[in-house]
C-alpha cells in the first residue's frame, strides 16, 4: 500500500473518531481501538516539556488497555457522574495530518487537533487543543488504533478532562 493511501486512511480515521465523539456514539468509538490499545495523555513536567515515561512520571490519562476507556464510557452512560449532567456539546477538529515512519504492517500518523466545548448548564465555552500521534494496525478487513498519544497544550483545564473533551 502506498503512502498516499495510508495518509488518506489515517486522515479519515481521525476525522471519523472526532465525529463519533461529537455524536456520542461511544460503542462505535470504542470499536476503533484494539483491545490492547494504549491511550495516553501526558502531563507537563514544566512549561516546555511533557512527561515522557508513564511508569515514572504522572500522566493526565494513561490506559495501557482499552478497558480503561470502556470504564470511562461506562461512567458516562451510568448518568451517575455530575460531570455528565449535562454532557458538554463538542465539536472535534483535526488537521495537518502527516505520516510518521513505522516499522512492520502498521501506519503511523501525527495530526493537530482542537475540540470546541460548550456547557449547556452555564453557557460557558472553552477549547482544548494540541497534537496527537496514532498507530494503526490491520486486523482482517479493518484498521484499528493500537496506540494514541494526545498532547494537550492548554493543560490547566476547567474542572473536567475526559475522553470526549480530547
Amino acid at each position: 500500500m502506498n503512502n498516499a493511501e495510508n495518509l488518506r486512511l489515517a486522515t479519515e480515521l481521525l476525522i471519523h473518531e472526532g465525529r463519533l465523539l461529537d455524536q456520542r456514539d461511544w460503542s462505535a468509538w470504542l470499536a476503533l481501538y484494539a483491545a490492547d490499545a494504549v491511550y495516553w495523555v501526558p502531563a507537563w513536567r514544566n512549561e516546555g516539556e511533557e512527561t515522557a515515561d508513564p511508569e515514572r512520571e504522572v500522566s493526565l490519562i494513561y490506559h495501557p488497555q482499552r478497558v480503561g476507556l470502556e470504564e470511562r464510557v461506562m461512567r458516562v452512560r451510568s448518568r451517575l457522574s455530575v460531570t455528565t449532567l449535562p454532557l458538554p456539546r463538542t465539536t472535534h477538529f483535526v488537521s495537518n495530518v502527516a505520516l510518521v515512519p513505522r516499522c512492520g504492517e502498521t501506519i503511523g500518523a501525527q495530526a493537530s487537533w482542537m475540540v470546541q466545548i460548550y456547557e449547556p448548564r452555564t453557557s460557558l465555552q472553552r477549547v482544548h487543543f494540541g497534537h496527537c500521534e496514532v498507530t494503526l494496525a490491520r486486523v482482517e478487513q479493518r484498521w484499528e488504533i493500537t496506540h494514541k498519544t494526545i498532547h494537550l497544550q492548554n493543560d490547566c483545564v476547567a474542572a473536567v478532562l475526559d475522553f470526549y473533551l480530547l
Partner: protein, 451 residues
C-alpha cells in the same frame, strides 16, 4: 420562608458557633460575597502561615520555584549558603515580575525590564548604569534588595511562609497536626519528592468548598457513585507475590477525625472493603516498607497505612488514600479557584511501587481522574445553589457529629501521642462534619483580627 437581611461585613455575622447548644452554622453568602473574599486575601492568606513548597523541590543551592501567597508573587529559593529564602517576586525598581518561570536553578536573577540583578538570596548585585543615573543621596542609602516574606520555616521538608510577622512559630501553628505531617514524612526514609508532572486546574467555585470537601467522607458514596460502580465491576486486581502478608489493621472498621487549633483537621478511616493496606503503594516496595516499619514501629505503621485526609489551614491538603496526593489551592476570585496537584512519593522507591502509585493517583485525582472531576463540578453546583432560597438561613451541613457520642467511643489519640485533640469517631457511614468547624473558627479568628 423569611430572608434575613444581608449581613454587614462584620465576619462575626457569617458564623453561628454555639457549641453548648449543638449549633454550628456558616451563612451561605460567606462563599458568595466578593468584599468578604478580598478581606480573606488580606486577613487570611496574606496574614498567616501558608504552605509554599517542598524542600526536595529546592534540593541544590540556587534552585528556585515561583508561587503565590494570596495575591503576592513569591520567588522561593535555596540561596548559595543553603538557606531557604522566601522572596517577593517583584523587582525593586518598578515592581516588575522578576522571575517568570515555574522552577529552575539560577545564581543570579536579572530583571528583564532594565536589567537590575539579584542573587539567589535576594541581594541586589547591580543597578544598571547606577553611576550615570544622577541618583539622589537618599536613593544610594536605600536598600535595593528584594523584599522578603515576614517568616519562612520548614517542618520535615514541608515549607511554609507568612507575609505577616504577627504569627506564632510554625511549630505552634501546626500544633499536634504535626503528628499527621509526620505520618506522611515517615513514609520516605530518604525523604519525599514530587513525581514529575504537576497538574493544575480550576473550578468555578469558592476555595472553601475545597477546604470542606477534603475533610468530607459523607459525600463519597453519592458524589463518587460512578467511580464506586467501576471499582465494583472490576475483577479483583492480583496482589504482587512479594507483598507483606501481615498488613491487616487490627482495629475494627471505623471513621474518625481530629481537629486542632489554627484550623487544621484530619479525617481517617479503617477497613473500607477493597481499600485496605494491600491496595496502598507503600508496602509495594517491600525493602523500603521494612525500613519504615523498623524505624517507626507497629502502631505508627498501622496509622500510616490508614486512609487519612489532612488539611493544614488555609491552603494545603494531603490526601493519603489509594495514592498520596499533595494539593494546594490558590483562590482567584470569590467563585474561581486554581488547584495545584502533585503525586508525592518516597525518594528511591522501586519501579513497581512507583508505577502502581502513579496509576492509583491518576485514576482518582485531578480533572482527568474518575473522582476529583466530580468534586470540581459539585463545587460549581454548590456555588450556584448557595445563591438560592435558603440564603439567609445558614447551612445544615455542619451538624453531623454534634450529637451524642456513641457508647463505644474510641479514638486512639493516646497511641499517636496526641494530648487533647478535638475528636469524633463513628462507623464507616458516619461522615463527620464537626471536623470542618476548626477551619471556620480559624477563619473567624483571622478575619476578626483586622489588617
Amino acid at each position: 420562608m423569611t430572608f434575613a437581611a444581608a449581613p454587614t461585613l462584620n465576619p462575626q455575622n457569617f458564623i453561628d458557633d454555639r457549641p453548648h447548644d449543638g449549633v454550628f452554622r456558616v451563612r451561605h453568602d460567606a462563599f458568595l460575597n466578593t468584599a468578604l473574599f478580598d478581606l480573606e486575601m488580606t486577613r487570611i492568606f496574606e496574614s498567616t502561615w501558608v504552605f509554599v513548597g517542598l524542600e526536595s523541590d529546592l534540593a541544590r543551592p540556587h534552585d528556585f520555584v515561583t508561587t503565590q501567597i494570596g495575591r503576592v508573587p513569591i520567588l522561593l529559593t535555596r540561596a548559595g549558603d543553603g538557606t531557604l529564602r522566601g522572596l517577593i517576586n517583584s523587582c525593586r525598581h518598578r515592581g516588575t515580575l522578576l522571575c517568570p518561570l515555574r522552577k529552575g536553578n539560577q545564581r543570579v536573577h536579572v530583571c528583564h525590564y532594565h536589567g537590575w540583578q539579584y542573587s539567589s538570596a535576594g541581594r541586589n548585585l547591580g543597578i544598571t548604569g547606577a553611576a550615570a543615573g544622577q541618583y539622589p543621596a537618599n536613593f544610594v542609602d536605600d536598600t535595593h534588595d528584594l523584599l522578603s516574606v515576614a517568616r519562612i520555616a520548614s517542618y520535615r521538608g514541608f515549607i511554609f511562609a507568612s507575609l505577616c510577622d504577627a504569627v506564632p512559630t510554625l511549630e505552634e501553628h501546626l500544633g499536634e497536626a504535626r503528628i499527621f505531617l509526620d505520618l506522611i514524612a515517615d513514609q520516605g526514609p530518604n525523604g519525599l519528592e514530587y513525581v514529575p508532572g504537576t497538574v493544575s486546574y480550576t473550578f468555578d467555585a469558592n476555595w472553601k468548598f475545597q477546604f470542606e470537601n477534603g475533610l468530607d467522607f459523607y459525600h463519597f458514596a453519592a458524589t463518587h457513585s460512578s467511580f464506586v460502580q467501576i471499582l465494583r465491576q472490576r475483577p479483583p486486581p492480583p496482589l504482587p507475590p512479594d507483598l507483606p502478608t501481615d498488613l491487616q489493621d487490627p482495629d475494627p472498621q471505623a471513621q474518625g477525625s481530629y481537629s486542632f487549633p489554627y484550623g487544621h483537621a484530619v479525617t481517617w478511616s479503617v477497613g473500607i472493603p477493597g481499600q485496605g493496606a494491600e491496595r496502598r503503594p507503600l508496602p509495594r516496595d517491600p525493602t523500603l516498607f521494612a525500613q519504615v516499619r523498623a524505624r517507626h514501629g507497629a502502631t505508627r505503621t498501622k496509622w500510616l497505612l490508614r486512609q487519612r485526609n489532612l488539611t493544614i489551614f488555609p491552603n494545603l491538603q494531603i490526601v493519603d488514600i489509594q495514592s498520596l496526593q499533595l494539593r494546594v489551592w490558590q483562590p482567584l476570585a470569590v467563585d474561581k479557584t486554581r488547584m495545584v496537584s502533585n503525586c508525592l512519593a518516597p525518594i528511591g522507591e522501586n519501579n513497581a511501587a512507583r508505577s502502581f502509585r502513579i496509576r492509583q493517583y491518576e485514576e482518582f485525582f485531578n480533572p482527568s481522574g474518575l473522582a476529583t472531576a466530580d468534586d470540581n463540578i459539585m463545587y460549581a453546583f454548590c456555588q450556584a445553589g448557595y445563591a438560592g432560597a435558603t440564603r439567609g438561613a445558614g447551612s445544615q451541613g455542619y451538624a453531623r457529629g454534634l450529637g451524642e457520642r456513641p457508647a463505644q467511643q474510641r479514638h486512639d489519640a493516646a497511641e499517636l501521642g496526641l494530648r487533647d485533640p478535638d475528636w469524633a469517631y463513628g462507623t464507616l457511614e458516619f461522615g463527620d462534619e464537626s471536623c470542618f468547624h476548626a477551619g471556620h473558627r480559624e477563619w473567624l479568628r483571622l478575619m476578626s483580627r483586622g489588617s
